[in-house]
Amino acid sequence: MSKPKLIFSDILDEMSSAAKKVLKTRWKKVKPLAELQLKSIIHNFEQIAELKLQGKITEEQARLHLTIQKESIRTILLSFEGIGIVTAEEAINSALSAVKTIVNKAIGWKIL
């Protein structure tokens, strides 16, 4: 039996192109909405400052408003982190799946 030919650079190329594909498409979809959400919160911060300056809200009310905005940013960033992990997971699994194809092809039968 001759030794199966597995070229490391081929596997690496296949894995990284599979991972890149997943990362690119997912981030392109997520980024614009997150930016829009963060922009609207920055606008809200300006509004709170204005309401305080106009005397329409007290310092305590301003503080409560700022807490709401701050926590909103937190949920957005957490979502970003979570989607990042899902994306990374998809990238890893799709890279592993690429290896599966290449290894099975080199061996000549479905071992993986």
């Binding site: 997912r26 997150a34 309401l51």
Partner: protein
């Protein structure tokens, strides 16, 4: 040759199962409950906007909304604490609870302008969008 098949065995361990899991599985019960809480909150803001500067806007008329919403978030938190790798969802829910508590305190003090209501509404809506966006990415993954 032995080395080759050894590496192959390790590789097959990672690939052959169900893939690597770095984060929680999609939970349809949590997703549905978050959606219904979002709907309830949207109705609350419509009502508040309509009743602005009227006696009906009084905090006492909205106590049941605050009780229900906070109970919903707590039920979701307990459920997610029991599920595996749900730290992000848990933190998002804790964040949402802080927002509802602050909203309630502001309501108790009374809203002085409609702008106040709009900035709270937009922040809470952004939070729901972010939470649901994350749930959607989990759902998409579970479908692939």
């Amino acid at each position: 040759m032995l080395k080759f098949f050894g590496s192959l065995f390790i590789l097959s361990f990672f690939i052959s199962c169900s893939g690597i899991r770095l984060i929680q599985d999609y939970d349809s019960i949590s997703d549905n409950r978050i959606n219904s809480l979002q709907e309830k909150t949207a109705k609350f803001f419509i009502r508040v906007d309509r009743q602005f500067a009227k006696p009906d806007l009084n905090y006492d008329n909205f106590i049941s909304f605050y009780d229900d919403s906070k109970a919903d978030i707590n039920v979701l938190l307990v459920r997610n604490r029991a599920l595996y790798k749900t730290s992000i969802t848990q933190q998002q829910l804790e964040s949402l609870l802080i927002q509802f508590n602050s909203l309630e305190l502001l309501h108790k003090k009374g809203f002085n302008s409609k702008e106040e209501i709009y900035i709270i509404k937009s922040a809470i809506e952004n939070s729901f969008t972010a939470i649901l966006q994350f749930q959607l990415s989990l759902k998409k993954r579970s479908n692939t």
